[in-house]
Amino acid sequence: MEVDIKMAKKKKHMGLRVLDFFSGYLLAVTCLVLLGLLVWFSTLEMQDVGLSKTLERYYSHKTIFVVPEINGGKSVYIPLPGAYWVCCVLFINMVLGGIIRIRKNVRNVGAVISHFAIAALLVVGQVDHHQSIRGKMESYQGEKYDYATKFEFTSIEVSEFDEEGKKKSPYVIKHDMIKDLNDKVRKFTFKDLPFDLEVRHFREHVVVRNGANYARGKDSGELVDGFFLQPAEFDVKMDYYNYGCYVMVRPNDGSPGRKILLSRSIGFPQTFSVGGKLYGIEMPNEIWNMPFSVDLINSVGEYYPGTKKASKFQSTIAWTGDEGEEEKIETIKMNQPMRYKGFTLYQASWNEPINGLEYSGFEIVTNPADRWPEYCLWVSAFGLFLHFALKLISYLDRETRPAVRRDLS
């Protein structure tokens, strides 16, 4: 008999063995342990390299393997697979082992529900990972705002100044168009502008240095108007990229070009003239147009007496949607954001009035996954509850059964 079983095991088809492996507990435990290690190492590494870099290193789909570096950049020399791919394998394992091949009986209903919900969560998590965008809307009383600026993205904006020195609508080179440049040169042509722009030496994190006070290193950019771009260490605490690049303005009429140094930290446009007209060029955060506009009616900030500990930040806004909705008055508080068409607008900062004008800083987030992670997790929690409740009932049943038998006898 024993021999027969061994033979049967040996005869098992290769495909079935692969299926067994992919739906088995061994793979589930391995994936979970790997995921645990990745979460643990990434949490420790965060303090040295910052959140965004850590996420990129551990959780990006581009990461096939990662070698953790903790305690100030010391490598751990344990290559681990990227969390994205571990989650993909876990997803397959859960679908095969936890949903398709699991024994279908009442006792396993909860486990199936949980596995299904967690598998859905992994999918939703990928959507969130790829699609969510965050930005900030700084609003002062009395002005209408229908745009925000994206946190992680920069852009190059060129605008013409009118005779009164006012900026006209800008021409924008978006982050996606320049992010891969490094030392390459890319030419941008605008139909209505009498010049082309050549962008080069794009860097993620730089400081602008005065050539009179600082010597240029081998990775530094060239000297323009006495200044140059120097690569800087990423500020972990700020978790903020200070992008920088050089731009060559090439007039279409063949007149000499003009080199300009740009950085996100400069904060104002640098001007140049072409064909007798004045233009400004700068590198602000990328503009993000909103499907609604916000007019700050008032903002209230309170601190606990005698301290600088915030007890209340709230704003009242007049809000208008872009589909001809009527103006509505909304109050946004801490823990009580405004939601509209997948956008969440929440109170992020508050300042004392400046020149009598009240101010509120709103953060805006859009995420196509919206509240789906939450729903998935609730379903999963329900499944677990059901599973453990059934287990508890059967345990209590087993515990009490002998006593009943004794009573009967």
């Binding site: 910052g50 606990y304 301290t307 007890s311 954001p337 929690a381």
Partner: protein, 719 residues
């Protein structure tokens, strides 16, 4: 081996673990010799009792003076009471008595061993003789070295400016912290009680003399008979005396905010000190200009004599008038209020305790009728009662008593006495549990919010909830094992809470920042997550008992082992469920307040790690990769993960849940804890290996027996 010896060995091991954990937590307790304080008179009990209920506004809320005094004493003295020797007799000073000394009898307070120094090297480098690495010192002991300390402090500040905070050595960090403590102590000393030095330099008897201007001054001037030299002398000495006094009280600090103007009637209380300081500071600047101008006059006119006095007098009057113009006048009624304030320190200024008691009572009465407590008002009496009942420390005392009974019970196994002792231990553990829960409820009622809002709050909650769970399970099964777990668990967590409260030196009941002010989320997310922690810790404690108990041969019965394993399995499921629900609720809260469900914040990651590890345990058990001992070893590892999430991530300095404290001592304790857990896991792993080897040998023996027809000569050591 004799069973009792084994049980004793087991009990001692558990005690050693607790002691090691406690030593780690407390970072070695200071054991200084009692300092004899000469001339110290103990405060009248009635005065202390009246003073401790005085409402003060601090940390954004109204609280009793006693709570405030505790906070300061924790920060400076590093303990809940101050032990001194008065006339050779050991005396314990309460925080209220100590703070009253600092405010009302600063010259006596300077002799009290107020300052705990954990690394005496920072004093040694100044040339001071020190007794041990950790000790307590009085202000008067440190006073001769203040200049050197100030120089050292300035050089460290310069280094920070040059190279940043990260460049400091641990000793430099400790020096900075110590100097800040001294500054805080300075600011506590009542600026309105004139020290002997200032009295001598100014000739003032009390603050009242400071306000002597107008008619009294004119009277003095008239008495000069028009002698210009005398007039200059009177005016100049008055201005110089005022300036000396102002410079003495220029560092109006904390206490100026404590003793309030009862008529202010505002949400933010304004003290007499603050109102005084508002005027005193510009007046100090006016004095500096006056002093410069007088010095110029003296240079211009040379030595004062009959020939020069006329010209000097004319110029001096101009300078004097300009000074008077620049002087800001003090608010109406300030002098009267200061006179009232001086009555609070009656014994120090020659009055009686009765007089002081009356003054404090009338001061409080004025508060209660006129000060706006508003939304930040607290229930003073309830808080004083809370402080008096000291639930959590009393909980520790009850549990320690239960521990003594428990050891006795273990030594009497099999006798009738052990049954009696069992119920004693059970009763005491249940009492400690109820006491802890009562403390949590009492605090919650005073704070007007759910029980957990800070890291400190989690500790009594975990202790209370864990004890309740263990006591209930024990009531069902009555196997006594969980009583041992309860005592160790309760004592360890409540000790941790106690040491944390003292070391943090913060009022743990202060209001929460706006983003945390949500009773709904505090009552759901935070409670669920904390229950998850509790489940994991209770499971790990049982596993510690299992591993050590089995290693010592105390837990030999198969049913007992199965019983413990089932409970741990159930607790793992409990932890998974509550951690998962807590994490979801946290995500929903984060989505509402920060606009994202998940942000890979270290605290979130910690919660995720707990969920992942519990899933690993359950799946590994289902897959047959771990059995009984494996489950317990994994549960112990789960404890390390919970500590990572509960404590370690707070020290990483990143994320939205970062509590902003970085103590190298605390990190050392955490690593010590990890080491201890690793050791327990090694013991468990070793045990599993030995059992595996024995089973393999047994299998081999049976195989050989079968092959040899039952006549095996292979000798196998019995399990």
């Amino acid at each position: 081996m004799n069973m009792r010896v084994r049980i004793l060995g087991f009990c001692l091991t558990m005690i050693v673990i607790l002691v090691v954990a406690y030593a780690g937590i407390s970072s070695l307790v200071v054991s200084a010799l009692l300092k004899d304080v000469e001339g110290y008179e103990v405060w009248d009990e009635r005065v202390v009792s009246e003073m401790q209920t005085l409402p003060v506004q601090d940390g954004g809320r109204v609280k009793p003076f006693q709570t405030l005094a505790r906070r300061y004493m924790y920060g400076m003295h590093g303990d809940r009471t101050m032990k001194v020797s008065i006339g050779g007799e050991k005396t314990k000073l309460s925080p209220t008595e100590w703070l009253m000394d600092v405010i009302f009898r600063p010259e006596l307070a300077d002799d009290l061993p107020t300052f705990r120094v954990d690394n005496s090297a920072i004093l040694e480098q100044l040339g001071m003789d020190v007794n041990s690495l950790r000790d307590r010192y009085s202000y008067n002991q440190i006073r001769p070295y203040l200049r050197k300390l100030q120089k050292e402090y300035e050089s460290i500040l310069a280094k920070i400016k040059r190279l940043g905070d990260d460049s400091l050595t641990p000793r430099q960090q400790q020096t900075i912290a110590f100097v800040r403590l001294l500054q805080s102590y300075h600011s506590l000393k009542n600026p309105f009680i004139l020290s002997a030095e200032v009295k001598k330099a100014t000739g003032y008897g009390s603050m009242k003399d400071f306000f002597v201007t107008g008619s009294t001054l004119e009277e003095r001037l008239l008495n000069t008979g028009g002698d210009k030299m005398s007039i200059i002398g009177i005016l100049d000495s008055k201005i110089v005396a005022d300036a000396i006094l102002l410079s003495d009280i220029s560092s109006l600090g904390e206490v100026s905010k404590l003793l309030l103007n009862p008529t202010s009637g505002k949400r933010e209380w304004q003290s007499i000190g603050e109102r005084f300081a508002k005027v005193a500071k510009p007046n100090q600047a006016a004095y500096r200009l006056y002093a410069e101008q007088v010095a110029e006059l003296k240079q211009k006119h040379g030595e004062l004599g009959a020939n020069t006095i006329e010209a000097f007098y004319a110029d001096y009057l101009e300078v004097f008038q300009a000074y008077m113009k620049r002087q800001k006048s003090y608010p109406d009624g300030l002098m009267e209020e200061l006179v009232e304030l001086e009555k609070l320190q009656a014994p120090y200024t020659g009055g009686s305790s009765d007089e002081q008691l009356r003054a404090i009572s009338s001061f409080k009465a004025a508060y209660e009728s006129e000060v706006d407590f508003g939304d930040v008002g607290g229930d003073i009496k309830a808080e004083v009662y809370l402080n008096k009942l000291d639930y959590f420390n009393n909980g520790i005392a009850i549990l320690l008593l239960a521990g003594v009974f428990l050891i006795a019970m273990c030594l009497c196994v099999g006798t009738k006495a052990s049954r009696v002792l069992y119920w004693c231990v059970y009763g005491l553990t249940a009492a400690a549990c109820l006491f802890t829960i009562a403390g949590i409820v009492h605090r919650s009622v005073i704070m007007g919010r759910p029980p957990i809002g800070t890291l400190y709050d989690t500790m009594p909650f975990i202790a209370g909830a864990g004890l309740l769970l263990l006591v209930l399970v024990e009531l069902i099964h009555r196997k006594a094992i969980l009583l041992g777990v309860s005592v160790c668990f309760g004592v360890a967590i409540l000790f941790l809470a106690k040491r944390y409260e003292v070391s943090e030196a913060k009022d743990q009941m202060d209001p929460l920042v706006a983003v945390l002010k949500s009773n709904y989320w505090l009552a759901t997310h935070v409670v669920m997550i904390t229950l998850g922690y509790m489940g994991g810790i209770v499971a790990a404690c049982i596993s510690h008992f299992y591993i050590i108990g089995r290693a010592f041969g105390v837990i030999v019965d198969k049913n007992d082992r199965k019983y413990l394993t089932k409970i741990v399995y159930g607790m793992v499921a409990f932890t998974l469920l509550f951690s998962l629900i807590g994490t979801i609720l946290g995500g929903v809260w984060a989505a509402d307040s920060w606009g994202r469900f998940w942000g890979w914040d270290p605290k979130e990651n910690g919660a995720l790690l707990i969920v992942i590890w519990m899933l690993v345990i359950l799946h590994a058990r289902l897959g047959g990769y771990i059995r009984e001992i494996g489950l317990h070893v994994c549960s112990v590892f789960g404890f390390a993960i919970i500590v990572f999430s509960w404590w370690h991530v707070n020290f990483l300095g990143v994320g939205l849940h970062n509590y902003g404290f970085t103590s190298s001592a605390a990190m050392t304790n955490i690593w010590m804890f990890y080491g201890m857990e690793f050791l327990i896991m090694l013991i468990g792993g070793g045990m599993a290996w030995v059992i595996h080897e024995r089973k393999a040998a047994e299998k081999m023996r049976k195989k050989l027996e079968a092959e040899n027809g039952g006549d095996s000569e292979v000798e196998v050591v019995e399990n």
